[in-house]
């Protein structure tokens, strides 16, 4: 079974803090993704990575950065957290170069910025 784990289920941070969200997958997937999910707005792609040290912006990259130093690990960084970044953050992974790209999601991190 594919397993995607996220470092925290719940996180509370103060405005202006630097925040790290970690994601690890154990299925040797090339692709990894970070989304945020807000009521009424659905899933929105922040960043994705198709290989180690490779990254591409998604639909809402402002205020975020990412790091992928190892194939199994993809980190999302909030350089200076703001209250409008309070959200559910979801990490996902998928294969690349196959017939289709079903993504497998982690349990999510509920981040609250106060």
């Amino acid at each position: 079974d594919v397993k995607v784990t996220q470092s925290s289920r719940y996180l509370v941070k103060r405005t202006g803090e630097k925040v790290f969200l970690e994601c690890v997958q154990d299925m040797d997937h090339e692709n990894m993704f970070w989304y945020r999910q807000d009521p009424g707005l659905g899933l929105r792609l922040i960043y994705f990575s198709y290989d180690v040290k490779m990254k591409e912006k998604g639909d809402i990259p402002e205020g975020y950065s990412v790091s992928r130093e190892k194939k199994e690990r993809f980190s999302l960084i909030l350089e200076s957290a703001s209250t409008n970044q309070t959200s559910m953050y979801l990490c996902a992974s998928s294969l690349w170069g196959t017939a289709s790209y079903e993504q497998y999601f982690g349990p999510g991190t509920r981040l609250t910025v106060t």
Binding site: N31, F33, G42, F48, G58, A99, E102
Partner: protein, 111 residues
């Protein structure tokens, strides 16, 4: 514009009352359509992939079907534990692995 639209937004059923959820899509050259189940406060759980019109997949009380313009998730004799949000997504054009998600249908099954 490539997009996915799900309907209805919310659906309430009595236990045992069968129904269908709709996912309509516009994308050039469909390469895959995906259904997910999401429980409150959790990450989406992968259910099915459909590749071509006419294809069907089943899992317990769920059956997903695909036409050239839409997909249906049929729920037969649902139980309260089927209550969840069901998300539909299509593979985005190109070879990036990105998915385009719909807004989801929230299903509530009452005993």
């Amino acid at each position: 514009e490539d997009q996915v639209t799900q309907s209805p937004e919310a659906l309430r059923l009595q236990e045992g009352e069968s129904s269908s959820l709709n996912c309509s899509y516009t994308v050039s050259g469909l390469r895959g359509l995906f259904w997910y189940r999401q429980d409150p406060g959790k990450g989406p759980e992968f259910l099915f992939t459909l590749y071509s019109a006419g294809e069907e997949k089943e899992k317990e009380r769920l059956k997903a079907t695909l036409t050239k313009k839409e997909s249906f998730l049929h729920i037969t004799a649902p139980k309260p534990e089927d209550s969840a949000t069901y998300l539909c997504a299509v593979q985005a054009p190109g070879n990036t692995g990105k998915l385009i998600f719909g807004q989801g249908t929230t299903l509530q099954v009452k005993p």
